[in-house]
């Protein structure tokens, strides 16, 4: 530990995580004083202030890449910045959304856990070490268990919490198992070292143990991104959990899961042409199968649902499948022939990030609308509960319709921009590797057919809202912050649908597509 650069690297860690520290610090204050003051407004304001402080720190604290990347547990690259902003903004939105279901008794715990979870997501984005990554993922999971248990009054709530807890713990175990293999193979917990070593090893022969480790990691992340067959908890948790928490579970673990997957697979590396598991290994094929299964199963099962929460759960499974396309596409990058001068318009990860943001807006928005309409004595459970919403709550119905159209992927909504990028990426991916051949394009077609199938159940909700007459009294919900969040999200969905450039730019900045002039040609060609 005498190397001054190394010392500098390790000391600089706190500076790199300042906003996360602010979030967790606020959470500590909230937890601490929560037992003395039971006021919803107070903790709402304090948490919002904490998020604001985090945003200010994220915007102002100047960071630079640590001197020794191979030893740094945290790195502030562009992808990390993107994830951090997503986490902070989502935290702010969720603070508003959850207003509708927080009561004075548990406000402090609720908001505190929310902030910790957001910090966890943000840290996942910048983790450069298996240990940091694991801790960050747990920082996201543990508050979620608490959140699920907080209002657990009915059997359904408790079942949801228990199910989530058990499966989450199991997935963490699987992940650790995979991590141990990676450590054993490379002798380091640093992700840069791991990806570099494995890539070099794979240039000669494929290491089956590395593949096995990757499979374990994919399985563990599959739980977080609700990939089939790791999705079984989703419908029950979405049905039984408190709506605000469900909105968070639908988004935060997905962000964390995809980002962690990309980190371990080296897809966010400085040059994604050198990834440990490229299209010549079987891993992209596995991810391909996972993507196809996830979207097909999610959509088909969503067709059968009458409960809107379960429907949204399966829909979120299906969207996880679309997003997995991005990871599959990213694995094709090393094969882009640098001489073809054919710019890969899309690198996969950038499309995934755009889709992730769009998905977050529309899914959290949809849950926000349902939360706003639900009152304790009259919860919105089945799709029929929304009948005639167009007449009784025109604004909520309009917002919901925008989210649903966006989930369908109709133009002028953010969902379309995401799908378009994924489709372009999939069709543009090179087809000459023997393992993948035309599978990228097949994937695009399967996704298109799936999108058409998905339209059926989303449209059903729209039909119920607008084409049927109301069957119950309009709800007298007063959760105006929730409604505000829903309206803002609807506006954002439309805005980024019409003018997606800001998100696309940010995502491409975060996960840059390798320029045509690759410095080193693919060693396998």
């Amino acid at each position: 530990m005498t190397d001054p650069l190394l010392q500098q690297t390790l000391k600089g860690v706190f500076r790199l995580a300042a906003p996360e520290i602010a979030l967790i610090g606020t959470a500590c204050v909230v937890f601490l004083f929560g037992c003395m003051y039971n006021r919803r407004w107070l903790w709402f304001a304090v948490s919002l202030a904490g998020v604001g402080l985090a945003a200010i720190l994220a915007g102002t604290v100047k960071t630079q890449m640590p001197a020794v990347v191979t030893a740094a547990p945290i790195i502030p690259d562009t992808a990390a910045a993107f994830v951090r902003w997503v986490a902070i903004i989502t935290a702010a939105v969720l603070v508003f959304v959850s207003w509708g279901e927080v009561d004075g008794a548990n406000a402090a715990e609720y908001y505190g856990c929310l902030l910790v979870a957001a910090a966890g997501v943000s840290l996942v984005g910048r983790a450069n070490d298996l240990i940091t990554l694991f801790l960050a993922l747990e920082l996201l999971s543990i508050p979620t268990y608490v959140l699920l248990y907080l209002p657990a009054r009915s059997k359904l709530n408790q079942e949801a919490a228990a199910k989530y807890f058990l499966l989450s713990v199991m997935s963490s175990a699987i992940m650790l198992f995979g991590f141990s293999y990676l450590y054993g193979l490379t002798g380091s917990t640093n992700l840069v070292v791991i990806t570099d070593t494995v890539t070099k090893a794979h240039a000669e022969t494929l290491n089956p143990m590395a593949l096995l480790a990757a499979v374990f990691v994919v399985a563990a992340m599959g739980f977080r991104i609700t990939a089939v067959p790791f999705h079984f908890y989703a419908p029950d948790v979405y049905e039984g959990g408190p709506l605000g928490v469900v909105a968070q579970i639908a988004f935060f673990p997905k962000v964390a899961g995809f980002v962690a997957l990309a980190r371990v697979l080296g897809l966010f590396a400085s040059d994604p042409r050198h990834i440990p598991f490229d299209a010549y290994t079987q891993l992209p094929l596995l991810l391909w199968i996972l993507a196809i299964m996830t979207m097909c199963v999610g959509n088909v099962l969503a067709l059968l649902q009458d409960n809107i929460r379960r429907m949204l759960a399966y829909s979120s499974v299906a969207h996880g499948g679309y997003m997995l396309m991005g990871v599959v596409i990213a694995s094709s990058l090393p094969d882009v022939n640098p001489d073809a001068k054919n710019q890969p318009g899309i690198g996969g990860m950038d499309a995934l990030l755009v889709y992730l943001v769009a998905y977050g807006m529309m899914t959290i928005g949809a849950f926000a609308v349902i939360l706003f309409l639900s009152t304790p004595d009259r919860p919105v459970e089945s799709i029929d509960d929304l009948a005639g919403l167009g007449r009784t709550h025109p604004v909520s119905a309009a917002a919901m319709a925008i989210f649903l159209f966006s989930l369908i992927g109709l133009p002028l909504t953010a969902g379309f921009a995401g799908k378009l990028l994924l489709f372009i990426g999939a069709i543009n991916a090179p087809t000459h590797t023997t393992e993948m051949r035309d599978l990228y394009r097949v994937m695009a077609i399967v996704a298109a057919v799936n999108a058409a199938v998905a339209a059926y159940y989303y449209l059903r909700v729209i039909g119920v809202m607008y084409l049927r007459s109301p069957i119950r009294q309009p709800s007298d919900s007063r959760a105006y912050p929730t409604a505000l969040a829903a309206v803002v999200l609807a506006g954002a969905t439309l805005f980024f649908g019409i003018y997606p450039q800001p998100i696309v730019k940010a995502a491409r900045n975060a996960a840059p597509v390798p320029a045509t002039k690759a410095t080193v040609a693919n060693p396998k060609q």
Binding site: G409, L420, A455, Y456, L459, T516
Partner: protein
């Protein structure tokens, strides 16, 4: 040209005005229908100005471009009055600088070509009259809905305008993704218009079916569009482009190179490109076949047309149905020309021909006048698709003209049904009879519309149908399908006379029979509003029948571009070198007989172009 900037803004307004009104009209409450009539009229005036400016520019260009030989360089579509164009003057290629989002790795300077999805609108000969149609038809729709829409009229007219914005935008778009965006945008208003204001009990299912069916098709179209973009990068720089004119040039370039290689003895490249084109053709056509619709993808249509309120049915038949045909014209023909030659007539054409007969029989068997006209629309549109895939000058200009004509006459027929609906709330044929004596004015106007729809000389459909037939009889299309299909198409004209006149006979002649009227007072003959409505449509049908040359002249340059694309594709498919043939100077061997005599050996195509043009003019002369 100092008017250019002004017209550019007007072109932009053609899309923006309906979009803005879609938001504003619902706020007007009681006044909505009046406000929307004013807005629609304003839109029509704007379109009128654009047409005035454009016809002049387009005719100048047509005269100029005829002199450029078609084999020197591949010519793309040539949009004029592009909003957001930075430098372009008249004559230069115009491209917009308004980028929606960019896929380039390095931020490109605005205005430079790159993989950008752009807000690229423009006027050319192919879309000008369709935009005019879209702008005009909204007025009859508002008038037809004047009394009948009582529930939330503001929202109704708002959705109408959104639908119009989508249709106009799709017509104007020159960016393939932008086209798709507008193409899909029409689904949402149509869904609400059918589902909320529909007349039948099955309206919700009809709306849902329409939406899902069309969406499923058009998602595959999206894949096809992206596929075309990805497989046709710029030959030198490898850059992807979403701009339709650039894509056309790229496609032509790649195909030309492959063709040269094939002629030199290496057909593998051409074969590979043909295979790619086949799959792209399938994907692209998936959406358009549903939208047109072509049998067997028409099953959404009877329920959607039947359940929708009459004004919406007018819009669906006059405008929405054109989107599918326009998509074939705008995307399929120029972007996958070889597949369009190989599989267009043989496969799609056969389906369309079968659909023509099938729909005609369905129309004859229908008991409801609304369904008769709906099926007649399917039948006519099949004919239109045949004309498009003939892929030659006569077929293409006939088809474009027929899009306008068919929109006008079918829309007008539905408007005429609106007259009956307002008085009796039904259009069932059995319950009517002898209306001739009851409503002489109405009967007179409807007669003319029916005759126009049948294709009576002197009325609009006749001209375009004859041109499409001329295109189909052109024997340069490989195989005999062209002829067989032409016979079926000709048969369809006869069949349309059969079912339409049967309907007229049943409703207007026979002893007087009328269902329960809506009001206690005896229903009056055409009111002033209805007279203006139907009278305008009738006179437009007449005007287009007598003076189609204006329309044909403006589209000449762009039809020529497409037909050259078609000719070179034909040469590639047949494996012969492409020889450029032009209509000027008119070859002396042409005899001005009816085009049916035209079929001849493949090689002598040079004369045929002239023949199509010639064969048409005398016919028009006869009418006058």
């Amino acid at each position: 040209m100092s008017t250019f900037p002004v017209v550019r803004v007007l072109v932009l307004l053609l899309v923006l005005l309906p979009l803005i009104s879609a938001v504003l009209v619902p706020l007007c409450g009681r006044l909505a229908r009046r406000v929307s009539l004013v807005i629609a009229s304003t839109h029509l005036v704007l379109t009128g100005v654009v047409i005035l400016a454009a016809t002049e520019t387009l005719s100048i260009r047509a005269a100029e471009e005829i002199r450029i030989r078609g084999d020197i360089e591949a010519q793309p579509f040539h949009p004029e009055f592009v909003p957001g164009d930075t430098g372009g003057r008249h004559g230069n290629e115009q491209r917009t600088s308004w980028t929606l989002f960019s896929l380039s790795a390095v931020p490109a300077k605005p205005g430079t070509p790159g993989p950008n999805i752009q807000f690229y609108l423009g006027i050319d000969g192919l879309n000008l009259w369709l935009v005019a149609l879209a702008s005009f038809m909204i007025i009859p729709v508002i008038l037809v809905s004047w009394e009948s829409i009582t529930e939330k009229p503001g929202a109704f007219y708002g959705w109408l305008f959104l639908l119009q914005a989508g249709v106009v935008g799709a017509f104007l778009a020159f960016d393939v993704i932008l086209f798709y965006i507008f193409f899909e945008l029409t689904l949402i208003p149509a869904f609400f218009l059918i589902g909320r204001w529909g007349v039948g009990s099955g309206r919700r299912d009809a709306a849902r079916k329409f939406f899902l069916y069309t969406l499923a098709g058009s998602l595959l179209t999206l894949i096809g569009v992206i596929g075309v973009v990805v497989t046709n990068p710029h030959p030198a720089t490898g850059q992807l482009t979403f701009s339709l004119p650039d894509l056309m040039v790229n496609v032509q370039h790649h195909m030309h190179n492959a063709h040269q290689k094939a002629l030199a003895g290496d057909p593998s490249d051409l074969a590979a490109r043909h295979t790619t084109q086949f799959w792209l053709f399938v994907a692209l056509m998936a959406g358009f076949m549903v939208k047109v619709p072509i049998w067997p993808f028409h099953t959404w249509l009877p329920s959607a047309y039947g359940e929708a309120p009459i004004g919406v049915t007018m819009l669906l038949s006059a405008l929405m149905a054109k989107l599918g045909a326009f998509g074939i014209l705008r995307l399929v023909l120029p972007l996958v020309p070889d597949a369009a030659i190989q599989y267009g007539l043989p496969v799609i054409g056969s389906l369309a021909a079968f659909g023509i007969v099938y729909a005609a029989l369905c129309a004859f068997a229908s008991k409801d006048m609304k369904m008769v006209i709906a099926y007649s629309s399917v039948s006519h549109l099949g004919f239109l698709v045949l004309g498009l895939f003939a892929f030659n000058r006569e077929g293409l200009s006939g088809s474009v003209l027929h899009m306008v004509n068919h929109g006008l006459s079918t829309g007008a027929l539905f408007a005429a049904l609106g007259f009956l609906l307002e008085r009796y709330r039904t259009t069932e044929m059995n319950r009517f009879g002898g209306l001739m004596g009851r409503f002489p004015g109405f009967a007179f106007l409807t007669f003319i519309l029916v005759l126009a729809s049948i294709g009576m000389p002197g009325l609009n459909n006749f001209v375009s149908e004859m041109m499409m037939l001329a295109g189909l009889f052109n024997a340069r299309n490989p195989g005999v399908q062209g002829l067989g299909l032409a016979v079926v198409a000709a048969l369809s004209i006869f069949m349309s006379a059969w079912y339409m006149l049967t309907m007229v006979q049943c409703v207007f002649f026979n002893p007087l029979k009328e269902p329960e009227p809506v009001t206690a007072v005896a229903a009056p003959d055409v009111t002033r509003r209805e007279f203006v409505l139907l009278g305008t449509l009738v006179s437009l049908c007449l005007a287009l029948g007598l003076f189609p040359q204006l329309l044909i002249n403006t589209m000449k340059a762009d039809v020529r571009v497409l037909s050259i694309v078609g000719d070179s594709a034909r040469a590639r498919v047949q494996g012969v070198p492409y020889v450029y043939e032009d209509e000027a100077p008119p070859p002396p061997l042409v005899s001005p007989g009816p085009p049916i005599g035209a079929p001849g050996p493949k090689g002598k195509g040079g004369g045929f172009k002239g023949k199509g043009g010639k064969g048409k003019n005398p016919l028009i002369g006869e009418e006058e």
